[in-house]
Symmetry: C2
Subunit: 227 residues, 2 copies
Amino acid sequence: MQLNRASLVDETVSALRAGIAAGRWAVGGRIPPEPALADLLKVSRGTVREAVRVLAAAGLLEVRQGSGTYVRSQADGTGMVQRLGLASLKERLEVRCMLESEAARLAAPRCNPADIAELTGLLEARDAARPADFVERDLAFHRRLVALSGNSALEALYEWFSASVAETIAETRKPWMPEPDRPQHDAIVTALAAHDADGAVAAVKIMIAPLLARLTRALEDSSETEN
Amino acid sequence: MQLNRASLVDETVSALRAGIAAGRWAVGGRIPPEPALADLLKVSRGTVREAVRVLAAAGLLEVRQGSGTYVRSQADGTGMVQRLGLASLKERLEVRCMLESEAARLAAPRCNPADIAELTGLLEARDAARPADFVERDLAFHRRLVALSGNSALEALYEWFSASVAETIAETRKPWMPEPDRPQHDAIVTALAAHDADGAVAAVKIMIAPLLARLTRALEDSSETEN
DNA sequence: TACATCAAATCATCCGATGACTTGATGTTT
DNA sequence: AAACATCAAGTCATCGGATGATTTGATGTA
């Protein structure tokens, strides 16, 4: 009796990933057709398809119907996501804070009055929200702020980290995080309106620092059981 | 004739992801069995399996043979990687710069003499490298620097972005990027040795700024054809 | 109560068949 | 010769069915 026996699909994924990482198939080049891979790896074509689909979702492969399956990149996004998931809550919150403050820096020179008005509107909505909606409304403001940076990679990362952090906090049933108040949010908007990049960065950090400090303290109290 | 018709698997992935994001199936709960999903979405079971496999690889689902498929998380890693891959080179380089400078900020207070010695050693090796090895040695220094931040999430992200940026530059055959010189690297190490967080951040930005500026100018010249 | 056994539910894997799409070759027309 | 239409081969997309492996809760027994 053995535990955790890897599935055939997982092994196929590993084999293909290894081949790609080793440069067995050049970036931009084509990997063998599905039937050939199935024969080579001694698995069925369906198993190969599932493995290829995983690697395509990870960005390593690109499947073109009628043409073949091509190596798109050697940068392994799946590995990154995996490691990200294993990171502790504190680390994830740290990164989220960093992303948001840098987003503010990029957004400051690009903000126009309409953007400022929109952010202010989101803050109004946040204040008017019932407790059940508050977190969602709050997130909407931060999302918009990050979007104003104009950097879509930054936006995608922020999305993931904020969701991940919110989820972990929710599932650990620790609703004790201090909610940043309205003046702190206003300080960010004010700095953005003045195109004051450093001021915006500082405002964001001032807002998030208490959260991080509270979390660090909580972790010291409970010693471990993180993630 | 329509272009880019999404495949059934992609649509199935979207449908499942939407259901998860909407909380249709609770985190920790079970989604319907494969045959039921196939019937519900009007696709074959094989199509459902490929979609589930993608979401499992992304960390949203967890498949347990004999038991069922469970919702593990609502934080979508695959979507993030996808959007990251679509981001332009400039955006990715921007993010990489931000990650490295913030890593320096976190590393500054934690650096001990041994770390400084190691970084210096890596710089020596970098100088001594033949042109073929130079990029690799250079990357080793930066990797070590980020690792000193003590934040594994940051480390994973930096890994991905640096690989992605290097890959894009290599494939566009544009070896014209100005290589930051030794004094600029030394400035970082010096700031770290003095536990000067702001100084380290500034040193990193001074080092990378020319790269970013050069890239921006190149993009303006060639108008488009980015990524 | 504790344990062994069993059956149902569910996922894992394979196989074969048919359709859709891409691509390069071929042949025709201008 | 160049441009265009047609065609066939290669490749992925999707389906349906069949069988095995694993988990899990029910059942029966000591």
